[in-house]
């Protein structure tokens, strides 16, 4: 069983929802992810999604566009992303690490070569928003061979037939897109989120992690009653970016701690 599956299983046995914050590797400074990741874990993150920058992130909103532009200006490339994972593991970080990125840089690196290198570095899985299952045969085969997870996305617009198909191919969990739109902080969750998550459950027993627009403790509390995982990206990056450098790690920890508390409270979990 993969480290991601084990983590969801352990949390499920405790009745808890997984919390998965997101960092753009190389934002705000080239090395920021090293200290920020530790802070997020200290704040209660169960897994981390690490964004590998791409010049044209077409599924992402303004925040992730801006953070990836800064990361690229900081000279971040795939090798640096792999090195970041290696260093996090060397520093003792043991939670699942997922690499999120657009397909072309990995395609240029060589899909099989990249998956092997990510495995060697200590990554657990991949999220590739512009790679639907129909185009993912090679990636899927490589992750299977290296026993890593390839997480596919489903959206409220996905038909039932499509949910059945994609759920059968995803591994680790299913990334459930919470809204019709790109990533970015939002004021409220979509009204039909619960219906969508129920439709996904009809076709798959995999854990469902909800991302896109999950911005504050109330959102996480609400997701915690409906799904097995909550992903928070843009709101966290916005907050980190608003802080002076020397306060970013402490701020990130507090930010995640509030999400953690909200999730645990909604789950009726007391440590």
């Amino acid at each position: 069983m993969s480290r991601i599956a084990q983590t969801f299983e352990r949390l499920a046995s405790q009745g808890r929802t997984a919390l998965m914050p997101f960092l753009t590797i190389g934002y705000p400074e080239r090395d920021s992810a090293l200290s920020l990741a530790q802070a997020l874990v200290a704040g209660g993150a169960d897994m981390l999604e690490l964004g590998m920058p791409f010049s044209d992130p077409l599924a992402d909103g303004a925040t992730i566009q801006r953070t990836t532009d800064i990361a690229l200006a900081n000279g971040v490339d795939l090798e640096f992303c792999l090195e970041t994972v290696r260093q996090l593991r060397a520093a003792g970080l043991s939670i699942p690490l997922l690499l999120m990125g657009y397909f072309n840089p990995m395609f240029q690196y060589g899909v099989e070569r990249f998956v092997a290198a990510a495995k060697a570095a200590g990554a657990d899985g991949f999220i590739v928003p512009d790679l639907p299952p129909e185009e993912a045969q090679e990636f899927h085969a490589a992750t299977k061979a290296h026993e890593l997870d390839l997480v596919f996305l489903l959206a409220p617009t996905s038909t039932d037939a499509r949910i059945a198909k994609v759920a059968g191919l995803s591994s680790g969990f299913i990334y459930c897109v919470a809204l019709r739109g790109v990533t970015g902080a939002r004021a409220a969750l979509a009204d039909d989120l619960g219906d969508f998550l129920a439709r996904v459950r009809q076709h798959s027993q995999l854990p469902r992690a909800v991302g896109f627009g999950i911005s504050k403790p109330e959102h996480v509390a609400s997701v915690a009653t409906m799904a097995e995982g909550a992903i928070c990206a843009s709101a966290l990056l916005d907050y980190i970016g608003s802080l002076p450098n020397d306060q970013q790690a402490a701020g990130a920890q507090q930010f995640v701690q509030k999400l953690r508390d909200a999730a645990d409270q909604a789950n009726g979990y007391h440590q």
Binding site: D56, L58, A59, D130
Partner: protein, 399 residues
């Protein structure tokens, strides 16, 4: 030509190229679009309505003009021009915009999203939306808005909501990103993509609607000269005018098909948009094709004097035609295009679009090397009224 490769265009596969690399949120919308497109493709009522509007609104068929003085000046092959510059809104873009606009209407869509580079596709889409009573949002890089001001004003006159895009190099690829983001956020809208690129079914659908150029040109050149052309030349940005004129000649193996990309200031990173000269296989904005990129797979910035050719990827069917060696691709620099522009103005009384001027530049190079019995057919994809400010600027003329 088609028997030794895997060509599965009904699924958007052109050999190793094409496909549908889109975020999950769009999959349902794009499947709905694909089904609707295959329905209208063989629907006589739809085709009759499109043909009627092409006759009465677009101004089709467009003329085929023998460029007598240009031919004499170059002293070689006869040069014939397919006059897409004479269409309503001034470029071949209307062929696709009208076809897709009618399709959107059939699908019950109310809101149309489009991207534009030079502004010709935006103007065509805005006109079609006005004609059909549809809401129209056009994304355009702010750099392109600056160099194509007349088209920005035209779109607004036609009722479009033109939204400037300030990300990246502020040109066509950034406008496509923003249009895709709008579509992801509004999957009930219709994305009217303007070139033969992006995810399936767009490359196929845009080719289908642009093939009228080649179908007409084939009949016209046969009627006028009694034979097929030796060479067909078209500029290639995404590649819609080129695939439109090439496609009906694909099985005429004697016909040399030549695409001309933007050589910009020369083939150095960031200074051109010649994907076959400086790019390699990649996946970008929904399709797998030749892409200008750095060693890490980040998409390169591009440059061309013509906004319509200033794009980092080429349509997947062109990539396939290139690798199959059915079509040949070369480039013309900004300077060569500008010379072609001025030459056509002077010899034929036609102001070509800077995009089309790249095709003229290739004809200028090629014609003198060919016999006087040879025929070159140039797709004059658009008119250059929109470009006079850019040209004046380069020539140092105060207007």
């Amino acid at each position: 030509m088609t028997d030794h490769v895997v060509l599965d265009e009904l699924n958007g596969r052109y050999g190793d190229f094409g496909g549908r690399y889109v975020p999950e949120t769009l999959v349902a919308a794009i499947e709905e679009l694909t089904e609707a497109f295959f329905r209208i493709r063989t629907d006589p009522e739809f085709q009759a309505e499109l043909a009627h509007l092409h006759r009465t609104y677009t101004g089709r068929p467009t003329a085929l003009t023998f460029a007598r003085r240009l031919t004499e000046e170059l002293g070689g092959a006869q040069i014939w021009l397919k006059r897409e510059d004479l269409t309503h809104t001034g470029a071949h873009k209307i062929n696709n915009a009208l076809g897709q606009g009618l399709l959107a209407k059939r699908m019950g869509k109310q809101r149309i999203i489009a991207e534009t580079g030079a502004g010709q596709h935006g103007v065509a889409t805005a006109a079609v939306c006005a004609l059909l009573g549809l809401q129209c949002v056009v994304y355009m890089g702010t750099e392109d808005m600056e160099r194509q001001k007349p088209n920005v004003f035209r779109m607004r006159l036609l009722g479009a909501d033109v939204r400037g895009v300030n990300t990246g190099a502020k040109t066509l690829k950034d406008a496509v990103n923003e249009a895709m983001r709008d579509w992801v956020s509004n999957p009930d809208s219709y994305y009217l993509l303007g070139s033969a690129l992006g995810p399936h079914p767009y490359p196929l659908m845009v080719r289908e609607f642009q093939s009228i150029i080649g179908i007409e040109a084939r009949e016209q050149i046969l009627a006028a000269t009694g034979k097929l052309p030796d060479t067909i030349i078209a500029c290639v940005g995404g590649g819609s005018n080129a695939i439109g004129i090439f496609h009906p000649f694909i099985n005429d193996e004697s016909v040399d098909l030549r695409g001309v990309e933007a050589g910009g200031h020369g083939i150095e990173p960031g200074r051109h948009a010649a994907r076959f000269a400086g790019g390699r296989l990649g996946v970008f904005q929904g399709t797998r094709s030749y892409v200008l990129q750095n060693s890490d797979g980040q998409i390169a910035n591009t440059h061309s004097i013509s906004a319509g050719l200033d794009y980092a990827a080429v349509g997947p069917e062109h990539a396939w035609l290139h690798d199959e060696e059915r079509a040949f691709y070369t480039y013309a620099t900004d300077e060569e295009a500008l010379n072609g522009f001025q030459l056509l103005c002077r010899t034929e009384g036609i102001i070509p679009a800077l995009e089309s001027s790249h095709a003229i530049a290739e004809a200028v190079r090629l014609a003198p090397t060919m016999s006087k019995e040879s025929i070159i057919l140039v797709n004059l994809s658009g008119r250059g009224d929109k470009d006079i400010f850019t040209v004046a600027d380069v020539l140092g003329v105060q207007m």
